[in-house]
Subunit: 297 residues, 2 copies
Amino acid sequence: MISESDILKCFQHLVDSSYHKESILIGSGDDAAVIDTQERKLIHSIDISKLGVHFHRDNRPEDIAIRSISTALSDLAGMGSYPAFITIGLTSNIEEISWYERFSDGIKEVLDEFKIDLVGGDVTKGELNICVSVFGYPFHKPILRSGAKVGDSVFISGKLGEARQGLQDWLNKKQSNYLEKYLQPKPKFKKAKQISAFATSCIDISDGLIKDLGDICKQSCVGAELNFENIPIHNDYNDLNYGDDYELCFTTPSKHNNYFIDLGFYLIGEIKKEKSLIIKDQGNIIEFNKDGWDPFT
Amino acid sequence: MISESDILKCFQHLVDSSYHKESILIGSGDDAAVIDTQERKLIHSIDISKLGVHFHRDNRPEDIAIRSISTALSDLAGMGSYPAFITIGLTSNIEEISWYERFSDGIKEVLDEFKIDLVGGDVTKGELNICVSVFGYPFHKPILRSGAKVGDSVFISGKLGEARQGLQDWLNKKQSNYLEKYLQPKPKFKKAKQISAFATSCIDISDGLIKDLGDICKQSCVGAELNFENIPIHNDYNDLNYGDDYELCFTTPSKHNNYFIDLGFYLIGEIKKEKSLIIKDQGNIIEFNKDGWDPFT
């Protein structure tokens, strides 16, 4: 039977990197890590990825690692922040050492892509479960969900529904360009940096535009009106209820509209005083949510 | 079927406390928490507690919460640090809402006992698994595993084996004073504070004295010689290989011996140049580890 120490050996090389030497005084290997934030505000979130919920048994171990960490990191992008380091709590009952080696290759890929450090972790036996703690710092200042103002423009950072298409193609064992969008989602740090100085509120779309913009509205005590024809989608209305693209939804004073449009962001609507979420298609209000979900309840 | 939002409602009241208002700028409810460490070094560790490994199906939900968080917090004590805030990743497929209410009562008990804040979390469906991220600050400075010096005295902070007895009694459904030692272990923050200015190395005994002191020796490139008759144990030699008491093992220059003895700590041995871990009983070297475990391999 594979031991905890066998598994830990597969991860040992990951803790040697140190992109943030100046702030990670002690990394992995002691009781805990020691961090000097150097007077920056630290942004932290925790996120679980679970077999059968967030990935499937026959996903590649590399993809499971990449997807688990990337979706956790996306919360930092949603705060207008960049990533600096992570810790991973891995529960697994897989017996093949090669699985852990490949899983660790996936971790390494994300660490190197975003120049982040792995500063600790824990390993235990059980049904596959990956709990990732992520840490970062604001590009400019933390962008909260609660800052949207009446009259602000509502933007999203990219097309919705491609990852949903990727999942569909993956389930149908169909080769397509969308597979990677689902298997290896990218947290939108470059875009987060571009909006960091001018956004009044921001969220990463992980539960679907409707629910996530609903959360901005709720926390900002405002409503929103969207124009369906301006929302870049891959398929249909249902793309508004899927979050796997991890694009950003943010609000900004309308004087910045041209700046953001020129950068390739999509202006999809406006923040309103009335606390409701309305979507219009060619002037007519459309029923966007057949389950009758209301962000204000 | 119980929903994620039903579960989250059970935890909502927990995020209202704010023992650390000055440093937790944004707590739970946004994409991530925002922390101002106020120029202190931040100590962080992640720890998984898993059904069947760290607790049993019929443990009380309160005890599962208390035990999961307390064992995670113990790593901070092992760094000579005090706790400030935590985040929890809870995976559960339990369908009774009362279980979550009682689990949350357990969380609340720990938060209030140690004056710490819950600043975020995640909930997902699956086999019961509790991943706790803990955060704190050093009482004095972080005490590492790597600072033990030849000639230093080796101390432990309390008796070993009582929690092991508690587990035994619990398994045998026997009422005893030891049950609580197993079910609700206490991280040793008061003791960590007492040693913080004078310890050269420290670890919380979570894997057993032999393995954990072995880790100090390994990381400090030294060895140790212990006197068995000076080690306070509940049962027998095997108490040296169990960690459930979460006592601290630390080293300190021998000039502080009387100070620590007066405080009730146990002087159990000395750090040696030769890289081996020797235990003597009335002058004779004893075989403490029948599996031939060697901290230096």
